[in-house]
């Protein structure tokens, strides 16, 4: 470890990409790492998508500006494993086997559950089907277009699970949004912090860590995770196999998976995301229990989409989504 730190300090720089400072506490994570190791972080295209990250790895391959490490959606990670270098962090054994590639080319890092965030002026929402009611006119929005954004695809899938669908078919979710649209309750703008603050999207389907009142910056904001549709989603870390700063990249991973009070796992938790080592940390006592208690409560069995289920859903959406909501 000390050798790795020395080598990383010698490189002096780390290139990261698509890490919004307000997302999952990345602002603090980046500044903590910089302070701790004296390594400068270049943060490129903070609002980029996972696909943008992969495009940057390919287009900037061999230059000093290429991204060293990626924080990437699973569907994009799985089809691009040839671009990544395998690496096992020192806390490897605390990461559930289902949440990492056996050779370490990708390792899930943090995630959450699909949730419905809503303004408390609506009272308390206890089921997804309530949203079809007349008081939600023009109120319900997704975080993006589900043929493009992973969070939106999972929002539709959550609606599908809540309406009796399964992870293998998103059709019931699409027809739910079709009904929402027909009743005039679906707002087709992309929900962002700005639209929530302005009050134009008072009901938002999004990951729970992006739906926290502290994150959206609105105090009268509640979060609901339906117990019949607990849909989990995790992002993954990967190292560019031609990283311009290979040691700094590996040190960054060690930092992100560190269970220390100022390590990546607890910092994500403070940002409202659920770190991948959460269970192990809860049992060994290293978890920031105050931050863990603030997460929205979850009851029910979580569902995680497999690669083929995610692909099926995307294919179905590509053919049916625009028709359903027009």
């Amino acid at each position: 470890m000390s050798k790795l730190i020395a080598a990383a300090k010698k490189e002096g720089t780390l290139n990261v990409i698509a890490l919004p400072p307000t997302w999952a506490n990345y602002g603090t994570i980046i500044s903590t790492f910089e302070k701790k190791y004296g390594i400068k972080i270049n943060s490129a295209n903070p609002d980029g998508s996972s696909q943008d990250e992969v495009n940057a790895v390919k287009q900037e391959n061999g230059t000093a500006a290429a991204p060293d490490v990626l924080d990437i959606g699973m569907s994009v990670a799985l089809v691009n494993t040839s671009l990544f270098a395998p690496y096992e962090v020192s806390t490897w054994s605390d990461i559930p086997a289902a949440q990492k590639a056996s050779n370490g080319v990708w390792v899930q890092d943090y995630g959450g559950y699909m949730s419905i965030g809503y303004s408390s002026k609506f009272g308390t929402i206890t089921s997804v089907s309530q949203l079809l009611g007349p008081k939600f006119k023009g109120a319900v929005a997704l975080n993006g277009n589900p043929t493009e954004a992973n969070a939106a695809l999972n929002g539709v899938m959550m609606a599908s699970l809540a309406n009796g669908g399964s992870a293998s078919s998103i059709a019931k979710g699409v027809s739910f949004f079709q009904q929402l649209k027909a009743k005039g309750n679906f707002d087709s703008v992309q929900a962002t912090g700005a639209t929530i603050k302005a009050g134009t999207t008072p009901v938002v389907f999004n990951w729970d860590y992006l739906n926290l009142p502290s994150y959206v910056g609105v105090s009268n904001w509640k979060v609901f995770i339906p117990s019949n549709a607990v849909l989990g989603g995790y992002y993954a870390q990967a190292i560019n196999k031609n990283a311009p700063h290979p040691a700094a990249a590996r040190l960054w991973e060690e930092f992100l998976y560190s269970q220390a009070a100022d390590g990546g796992q607890n910092l994500w938790l403070e940002g409202g995301a659920r770190p991948v080592e959460q269970q192990a940390m809860a049992s060994n006592g290293s978890i920031n229990s105050g931050a863990a208690a603030k997460l929205p409560p979850v009851s029910g069995t979580p569902v995680f989409l497999s690669e083929s289920q995610a692909t099926n859903a995307a294919t179905y959406l590509s053919a049916n989504w625009a028709k359903a909501v027009s």
Partner: protein, 286 residues
Amino acid sequence: MAVNAQTGARPVRAGRRIRLPNWLGTTPFLAYVAIFLLLPTGIIVVDAFKTPTGGLNLASLKVLFESAERSYFTGSLELCLISSVLGAVLGATLAYAIASGNPDGTVRRLYIAVSGVLAQFGGVTLAFAFVVLIGPVGLLIHASWFYDFPWGIAVIYTYFQVPLMVLVFLPAIDGVKAQWREASDSLGASTWQYWRYVGGPLLAPAFFGAALLLFANALSAFATIVAWENQIAYIVPQQIYVAINSEVGLSNVNQADVLALGMIIMVAILMTCYALLQRRAARWLR
């Protein structure tokens, strides 16, 4: 130099002068155009013909004629047509009103300054302003047609099209001389006859040229429509965005290149027509 030599007023020091070629001054501009316009255009054109395996062929262009892709182009054409016709008619009327006022007046200066600002007012800010005011939970009204394509978005586009029309059409109206109207009046022509035989034909090339400019302006607008309608791709740039960015496995860079090629062709046609019309319009405005 030649003048000085003939008059002998100031002897020119006979020395070696480095004669720079005339084209040198244009190099920065040409380099800029080459790097930021010609090179990307060339890359798109070449990539549009590329197959996934790296060879070149025409097969990928077939998607331009498939119904889904055609619908994006139809959507783009509808939106551009409606917003440019609305913008051109309203903008020309406004420009005429401004031109017939005091040429040094405050009103004229105010309108030109405001037009200069609003012609650039687009993107997320503009769409958001409309969503907040007349969207589904708007502060003023809840316009039921707000999300109808193309009318809802065309109304939003008109907000920057009208001021742009004022800016580009006003010089043409200013170029119409008062004496022509006086001459026409003194020969006994009615207002209708003046516009039918004098004013109209004079201004027509400038009007249609400006309308084409508005059309091209609407064609490339992207952020506005995305902030307005995020769920459905109606126009070509929206679908290019999905094809490049999809993180759920639907990205298809080749489709994006082919769609972009289609847009390049459209712009090339538009700009050729614009140049021809400008040439006609310029005759009367010297």
